[in-house]
Symmetry: C2
Subunit: 454 residues, 2 copies
Amino acid sequence: MEGHMQLADNPGLQEELQRLAEEGKLARFLARARHLHPSDLSDVLASLEEDLRLRLVQALPPEVVSEALAEMEEEEHPEEVLAALRPEQAADIVEELDVDDAADLISELPARQAERVLAYVAVRDDIERLLRYDEESAGGLMNPEAVVVRETATAAQAIDEIRRQAEEVEDFYQIYCVDDGDRLVGILPIQRVVVAKPETPVQTIMEPPLATVTPDVDQEEVAQLMARYNIPAIAVVSLDGGLLGRVTFDDVMDVVEAEATEDILKFGGAPGEEQLAGEWHQAVRSRLPWLYLNMITASLAAAVVFLFQDTIDRMWVLAAVMPIIAAMGGNAGTQALAVTVRRIAVGMIPPGKGFRVVGKELLVGAVNGVAVGLLAGLVTAPFGWGWEFGAVVTCAMWGTLVLATTAGALIPLVLQKLGVDPAVASSVFVTALTDVVGFFLLLGLAAAFLLPRI
Amino acid sequence: MEGHMQLADNPGLQEELQRLAEEGKLARFLARARHLHPSDLSDVLASLEEDLRLRLVQALPPEVVSEALAEMEEEEHPEEVLAALRPEQAADIVEELDVDDAADLISELPARQAERVLAYVAVRDDIERLLRYDEESAGGLMNPEAVVVRETATAAQAIDEIRRQAEEVEDFYQIYCVDDGDRLVGILPIQRVVVAKPETPVQTIMEPPLATVTPDVDQEEVAQLMARYNIPAIAVVSLDGGLLGRVTFDDVMDVVEAEATEDILKFGGAPGEEQLAGEWHQAVRSRLPWLYLNMITASLAAAVVFLFQDTIDRMWVLAAVMPIIAAMGGNAGTQALAVTVRRIAVGMIPPGKGFRVVGKELLVGAVNGVAVGLLAGLVTAPFGWGWEFGAVVTCAMWGTLVLATTAGALIPLVLQKLGVDPAVASSVFVTALTDVVGFFLLLGLAAAFLLPRI
């Protein structure tokens, strides 16, 4: 029985390995690390100082270290390890990897260093072919290695083929059946081959491919198809149906997680590409432009206040109501925005049905606006000039909430229509919009109806 | 070659089926719908009027309709279809399902109706056993049906076992090897059985289980383990190692998507359980309590303004700066919050390392606070009383940003420590906090340093 040891089941193992590495006991480190799952070894490597990590990678056999590098998070910069090695050494590691993982690693290297490493790699052509696809497309995710049989084969021949290809193709759950022109015509779940009589033609037990994608399909759509049809792998085919490779569930699970991170960061007004565990100065650089942009939008709200300086000057209590209007408008707006952005992301808004979504949110805003507006009017009236003041607050609050929910639904839908990622309509900008409208309503109504009376 | 037809590949098919259903041409509907993938048939059913849907479900054979119901989104309420059928009919449908899907469907029914249906179900005990687990745990997700062999078996015997069990167990990628006490001792990828010599003992080709979970493990942790180790299925075992079932990648992909939705909704200040495609009145009811709660927190900011009424009365321009301070503090706070909530969600903050995260965000706030504060001071100075006014704005802005980023990181970390879901620290509440502190700094500094001079 061979296999991997799990870091989580061995408390203290990570510390022990770190200690062995720091004390330079490489032989003992190696003996222990050999049995770690690549994901766990990658954690150990990531926890070490840079020069120590490099020394270990040089000392460890390429087949042990290669997958650990492939499993490293992007922000741990596995390519820097590769870049620090001699090109021949780096090439040994790259060759141990599945070609899609190899391409991912190489793509992070600067062009000249990638060139230097690739010069020593035997499967260079395969890697370069993959590098041509967009990283976030089916082509960028796919592994071109697959177990393939002709549709004219028998179950026994398919098993021979599995035996022959199993050495190279690691995890597979399906066999692809192709015609004379290498066009995909059927999918054969591996358990069907096992239970079939040897002489059964695969044509009679294969299934038509439930879903296939061309290499240019966006990774989010690939993930949605696989989740919809519960398939562990999806075939990537050319426009004329030629089998190019397959994307497996594990690539796609990473995609779903990465997209969720990107969406939440954008929603929170942080750039979606910020690396979660990046250095402070990277965070400063990536967030500052958004803050400056928001300063411009916030100045619009300030300008509204400026416009009504006379009103505030004579009724300072309005300044105390402003934050409440702003907070409630912001909250109602981000509620509608979050629901709408998410409905778009999971593909729940059929084309042409967007107006229904906006209509629903308008209604929600109108009803909640009455509920919140009346309470706000009641609470603030005693601090102002009686019921007229309360009425102004109620109306301003109602209008703000109606606008907030409508804008929260409308903006991402319009962006999607324009082909822009709806998630850039972050809460920050909806909030700025509701500030402007809320202040305008509150101060404008006060100027029109209250000022003449005092 | 048997298999499914895909809705997306047949433009007009959905409309045609809808038309056939509405015209009552059930035989023709059935002939067409038989070849649809359950996910696609579920879309067609969901698009129909309630009474028509019910009529179709009654007319279609249970084996066709059962999986379509199981694939329906929770908010399309498949259980209502079940509830409208006679209990014997509902039981026929339930029995066609994998027992985990059956349990999911039954769990949505009111207790008395569930009882009425279960009375007719042969696998009642199996379903009731699953119903005891928390819906969002490994036990709630698992399918108890798995292909199992004794570790003493040979490859040939394993293949016989696959043949025997393949009728009942649908999608499987691994065979579980157990000892005399039914305890899980190894995992056998199906392709290894295929390529092994028939007389090979499975003990020599199985792998130790890379990761297993007990039934109480939270679904998010299950998803993280499967993504980490790239495994299509994870075994669920009892405390003494007995094999209870398995969770497959397709269940987990749904989990990752649902958790992302929940996190974004909470982050946006909407309750995480709001159904994305729910009715407007459900949205009103679920969001209103959050709006009222936010009104209380917003009142704190209003109270600060109230406290400094004299200051604003004498320097109305402060009222124009307030929205800028609030907007920038809110933006910086939600940036830090989004990054931290996400780091926690993907398991990127090792225990005891939380202070580093807070330290990083404090630093980011301090640096961006200087950059934003200086600009804000420069821009506002001409509108106030010269450079002293600018200096007050700069200091208030700087303090607000430092607090905002620190709170954005600290609050979710503290919540996690307390065992509360960090995502409830929504942007709305961080924004309320930054409003209070920002206004206090701005108005307080102005009262202390500017008022005496005018």
